[in-house]
């Protein structure tokens, strides 16, 4: 009875036979890129990205690079070489409506499937969630957000608001310092993505060089071209169960051409707003004919007049 009845962690019981049976579920050691690709979901992720997002070539290219590094790192590990987790903190800059938030949402899932973050959830915050109202309020608030984001992606929208140079007693600086510390020390646990408009983010990084140098990937989101916007419009309509009637797609193309020349154009966001207004016009058009029996066709089709009624067409001479 000298042996305890329970197993003590760390101690090896001498009388337990160690079975050296190879586990059939473990794949053989990969030596080629194709082997690794077959074992992981990298390719599926890349295809899906190409398929789901219109344009954004530089962004897709960078994600492809990150995925490639993961594959090569796995091969390096198999050869016994050192493979360090790369720094994945990113900054997304670009004009309104270029898809920064959309890509950030996808990024959490992508990084999770590539195996860079453990849980793959996204915590989206703005200045209000990080910066406190009085002395001693900021640090716990920021830390709480950071703890929630561990194992996933922390997305800070409009990150330039964190730093307010005009007020030297602003608590934003404190939040930035805590962020920097965690970004540096817990690179394996958390990926931070900062997003904002290009010019303001540039001033933000200029006044916080520490932040800029800790972010490995500065991604600039280009504006969409006319064709890409049209494609985005098609996709949006598709997901809302609508479609363009005869000639309506051309009218929408013309609408975009005119709208692009006007100020305050917010890319995909403007497209979505335009489509929402067209849905309103379609609804009131159908509403007028009280006794008409509406078919599935009627309910899903956006006709040319719905688009032509826009004030964009009226404004031109």
């Amino acid at each position: 009875m000298s042996q305890p009845m329970y197993a003590i962690p760390g101690s090896v019981a001498a009388n337990v036979p160690v079975e050296a049976v190879a586990d059939p579920t473990v794949a053989p050691v990969a030596r080629t890129v194709a082997d690794v690709l077959a074992q992981s979901q990298v390719e599926a992720v890349m295809d899906e990205l190409d398929h789901d997002l219109v344009g954004l070539a530089p962004v897709k290219q960078r994600i492809r690079d990150i995925a490639a590094l993961l594959v090569i790192d796995k091969l390096r590990l198999n050869q016994g070489l050192a493979a360090q987790t790369p720094s994945l903190h990113m900054s997304f800059t670009g004009n309104p409506g270029t898809g920064k938030t959309t890509v950030a949402l996808r990024m959490a899932e992508i990084l999770h499937r590539l195996g860079y973050v453990r849980k793959g959830h996204l915590v989206a915050v703005t200045r209000d969630d990080l910066v406190g109202q009085y002395i001693g309020h900021t640090a716990p608030k920021t830390k709480e957000v950071l703890k929630k984001a561990m194992g996933g992606v922390l997305f800070i929208d409009e990150a330039y608001y964190l730093y307010r140079p005009e007020n030297e007693r602003d608590y934003g600086q404190e939040a930035i310092e805590i962020l920097l510390q965690v970004m540096e020390n817990q690179r394996d646990d958390l990926v931070v993505i900062l997003a904002g408009y290009k010019d303001r983010m540039d001033t933000f990084f200029k006044s916080n060089p520490g932040m800029s140098s800790r972010i490995a990937h500065h991604l600039d989101f280009p504006d969409y071209s006319h064709d890409e916007l049209l494609q985005i419009g098609d996709r949006m309509l598709g997901t809302m169960n609508y479609r363009f009637g005869t000639g309506a797609r051309d009218a929408f193309g013309e609408y975009l051409t005119r709208r692009l020349e006007q100020p305050h154009f917010a890319n995909a966001r403007s497209v979505r707003n335009a489509l929402d207004r067209m849905r309103l016009r379609q609804a009131s058009r159908l509403f007028e004919a009280r006794d008409r029996e509406l078919t599935r066709e009627d309910l899903t089709t956006i006709e040319t007049p719905d688009i032509r009624a826009s004030r964009v067409f009226g404004a031109s001479p």
């Binding site: 760390g10 830390k143 950071l146 703890k147 561990m150 817990q186 646990d189």
Partner: protein
């Protein structure tokens, strides 16, 4: 105390085992998170077994997805109170339970002097027993040399 010769206090889970490593603690936290528990970190330097309510370190951590957040808070607490007892407790907010689901000690003072058994003579040969931690003689905050 024949069953506990080292004088280590035994409270909550795993307290008869050797101290858990950080990797083992992470696994336990992960288990709790998967069951929807909210973790918090507590500390004390009063080792008495009836000392049920310890001091809360920071806020209870709701809505966490990963153990790294809890571990970060724990390291923070260890840095602040290296010679205190620190435990992790998991609050189960399920309706009808609403109580502590898990609790285990993750940090101990370097030396645990143990308890004295006091016998008090009372009326008609009655003996009253009580225990008193040797460390508890010093004022709070100075009990384990810190």
């Amino acid at each position: 105390m024949m069953t506990n010769p080292a004088g280590r206090i035994t409270q909550g889970q795993f307290s008869f085992l050797p101290d858990l490593t950080d990797a083992e603690i992470t696994l336990q936290i992960e288990y709790g998170l998967n069951r929807g528990y909210a973790w918090s970190v507590e500390y004390t330097d009063d080792p008495h077994p009836r000392n049920t309510y310890w001091e809360l370190f920071g806020m209870p951590m709701f809505d966490l997805k990963d153990a790294a957040g809890v571990l970060m808070e724990l390291q923070n607490c260890r840095k602040t109170f290296p010679n205190h007892y620190i435990r992790l407790i998991a609050f189960d907010s399920t309706r009808g339970v609403e109580s502590i689901g898990m609790s285990f000690i993750v940090n101990r003072p370097k030396v645990e002097p143990g308890f004295q058994l006091e016998r008090q003579e009372s009326v008609s040969r009655t003996l009253r027993y009580t225990t008193r931690g040797y460390a508890a003689n010093a004022p709070e905050g100075e009990r384990y040399g810190n």
